[in-house]
Amino acid sequence: MIEQLRIFIVEDDPWYGEILKHHLSLNPDNKVELFPSGSELLKALHLRPALITVDFSLPDMNGEQLYKKIRAVDATVPVIVISGQNDVSTVVELFKLGVADYLIKDESTKDLLWNSVNKIRENLSLKQEVQVLRQQLEDKFDFTNLIKGNSPSMQKIFGLMEKAARSNINVSITGETGTGKELVAQAIHFNSDRSKKPFIAVNMSAIPRELIESELFGHEKGSFTGAFGRKIGKFEEANNGTIFLDEIGELDLSVQSKLLRVLQERELQRVGGNERIKLNVRLIVATHKNLSDEVAKGTFREDLYYRVIGLPVSLPPLRERGSDSLLLARFFLDQYAKENNSRPIGLTAKAKDKLLKYNYPGNIRELKTVIELAAVMSDSTEIEDTDITFTPAGRETDFLNEERSLKDYTQLIIKHYLKKYNNNVMLVADKLDIGKSTIYKLIQEGVIDKDLN
């Protein structure tokens, strides 16, 4: 909120100037100063008023001349012109130049001015709020604030993100579920030249196949049953900004060809429309799939693949990020304490050890859930290993958490397959892509029981 609004009144009639000053000063949040001429005001412009009211007929210059001189010094300060004349052409000309309001001098002027000043105050307040929020957003999307990681693999990712933010190249982000693909896309956008323009995220897997084209490219009224009005598509919404297409690997082949055409021609036509709309959109895509494999399988167009691949950023799974899990756990605990207005919570050595050994199939998303639950369960200032419960989805990886030797794991896997396939050595060798002699050798060495059959 604007605390105090510094208002300069330029009025050569001291009586009228005092009336306006008194009236506007009734709001204690207005700090009002009076100037008898345009030249007196210009001398005081360095004091940066938030608003200026100008009498159109001044002894040294008229309102239009003064307005132009104000604009030469301050491009943004709102100016209200107050005039005894209501010549339409003058009013139109002044509005064309950009005055905030034009008031005719009569009995209601002071009340109209009061309303106009209040509107400008609200407007300035909103602008200030937007500025604060934008700054918060910039801080929020600072790479290091947004994505925590000291591991060498994440340092490499930060380097790639910086390169992506500095350029306009398309970016393709791959990584397992929960690795933070959208956060990376947001961080690239909000650190790029497009940061003040829209960031539009679209999850391909969340939109029904029959709606995806209209969702992406928009449609005209009546273009299909249920198209009751014109709809602006996500690409148009993202114009001059960034569009993030998540799970692009899920995109239907027919829509892939349309997307390719839009990317090639940098323009689109809404469904059912003829108008060609020029686009300036930065594309970031993400997928948990290996797109080149999808190309090989014929489910993803090769030409689109080369169009979207741009700068590839491959996010490592959390299990490959060393002690980043502890860094992130610390961050989530601080966040939890802040959001719940509770005291800071630490981790015991055993809890840290448990977190480091876990495999995190759900990656960072899973770690966050685990930590928040542990914080809730904890009765002390430190989380114990017993407070940490991994989600059922992570059970399959308990196997890896046992930290056995490779030899032990090999035996366990072969035993598991032999049991599953009724001890059919040939089939198991084929499934595991190993020689059958390897299995027979283990049987001969007694590592695997002979009586399997």
């Binding site: 050569d12 009639d13 001291p14 009586w15 008194h22 009734l26 007929s57 002894p59």
Partner: protein
Amino acid sequence: MSDSPDRLYSIAQLEKFQGYSYEFLAHMLNIFVSHSGRTMDDFSEGLKNGNADLIKGSAHRIRPSVEFLEIRDIKEDIRRLDKWPAGFDNEMAGLAEHVSGVLTIVIEQIKADLGTEHWR
């Protein structure tokens, strides 16, 4: 705080102001007295030199205060002088002289009222 019937001005509009006080009223009336003095000087010079622009400009500046203080005897004259379409002539001179005469009386009344603290 009612206006006397022989008083040529009224503070009714000033009284409508939120935050109205004697200090505010005295301040505004003093401004009017000093402003009117300048207006009469300008009129006097304009009449002497046949300077229509000087009279028009001066009438334009004093018009809001004359309307605010509801000085009915000259309200229309001031409006006409402000919007005077032609050059200096006898009609303009007559209007300016009439305005100056009324302003002289109003100034005397205001000074008397302020001196006797009539509005307190």
